[in-house]
């Protein structure tokens, strides 16, 4: 099973070394194409004018924020069920990237909302759910930071991630329900744009570019995390051996 072949961190690092330049190149190309298409190919919206161009970063960022959480949930399963040694590395490395994409989708959404709705923020069901997602990302990052032992922290975070994954649909549903109860009449709802190929293609290219960006960053962050754990192990060893050069001579019973 190919998945298990890369359980060895050293082999994984070698794979990253090979794959990363190609992935980065593809990512840059995809972004170049995506930007060109979203500014020069895509038409302006008859209702929203040029502001519709915000959609080409807003929507992919929102997709990525959810995809990143799915990846973290799968990684958490990997930590708890399959005990794959790289699973919690993957989950930990994904969290800040996911938080950043969520933040981007919130910021672009609110900058889009100001000219369209006349306010930066409404407690719309979709926006609110994304805000809850951001809080979950930040909470997970904090959980990882407060624990010194990466293995313990990884397990705790995996449990929280999975509970969150089960909970997110419930949150989405209840926020929808809460919102339809309260929806103030003054706020104009945005109609989903009729998907015309001229809009769809730039959107898809941008989505691919964002996905590639995610994987580039994710691999780099995973590599850093593996190095960080290596440093930690070596430091622990450096502390226990009184004189690293002649460690066998002075080996003491630890604690």
């Amino acid at each position: 099973m190919a998945f298990w072949d890369y359980a060895n961190p050293t082999r994984f690092l070698r794979l990253v070394q090979v794959v990363l330049p190609w992935l980065t190149g593809l990512c840059v190309l995809a972004f170049a194409a995506g930007f060109y298409m979203s500014f020069f190919v895509a038409p302006e919206d008859y209702q929203q004018g040029q502001t519709v161009r915000i959609m080409y970063i807003h929507v992919p960022a929102a997709w990525l924020s959810m995809m990143c959480y799915s990846i973290m949930a799968v990684s958490s399963l990997g930590t708890l069920v399959w005990k794959h040694p790289l699973a919690d590395v993957s989950a930990k490395a994904a969290a800040p990237i996911g938080a950043a994409f969520t933040f981007m989708s919130l910021v672009t959404g609110s900058l889009w909302g100001k000219p369209m709705w006349g306010t930066y923020w409404v407690w719309d069901a979709r926006l609110t759910s994304v805000l809850v997602l951001l809080i979950m990302y930040l909470g997970l990052m904090t959980l990882w930071r407060t624990m010194d032992d990466p293995i313990k922290a990884g397990k705790a975070a995996a449990i929280l991630t999975l509970v969150g994954a089960l909970n997110l649909p419930i949150i989405k549903f209840s926020v929808d329900w809460w919102n339809t109860l309260h929806q103030p009449a003054s706020v104009m709802r945005m109609d989903g744009p009729t998907i015309h190929p001229d809009i769809l293609w730039p959107l898809l290219v941008m989505a691919i570019a964002f996905t590639l960006l995610f994987f580039v960053l994710h691999l780099m962050a995973m590599r850093n995390e593996i190095l960080r754990r290596r440093v930690r192990t070596l430091r622990l060893r450096a502390a226990t051996s009184a004189h690293p050069r002649s460690a066998t001579a002075t080996a003491q019973p630890a604690e």
């Binding site: 040029q50 915000i54 800040p96 981007m104 960053l217 051996s241 066998t248």
Partner: protein, 57 residues
């Protein structure tokens, strides 16, 4: 090209996204430099990774 009356919002959202992505890239690069520096220092101290019998545990 003309971005219409709301050009400020469009530029701001693209700009903020760019800043966020650059921030992520900077974080990854700086983090890598820190870890590699620590590994180099440990190597100079003579702590080796391939000697499982050296540790107390």
């Amino acid at each position: 090209m003309d971005l219409g009356p709301h050009s400020g919002f469009i530029i701001a959202s693209y700009g903020l996204c760019l800043v966020t992505v650059l921030g992520l890239i900077a974080w990854v690069r700086i983090d890598k430099a820190i870890q590699e520096k620590a590994l180099r220092e440990l190597a100079e101290q003579g702590v080796s990774r391939r000697r499982p019998d050296a540790g107390g545990r």
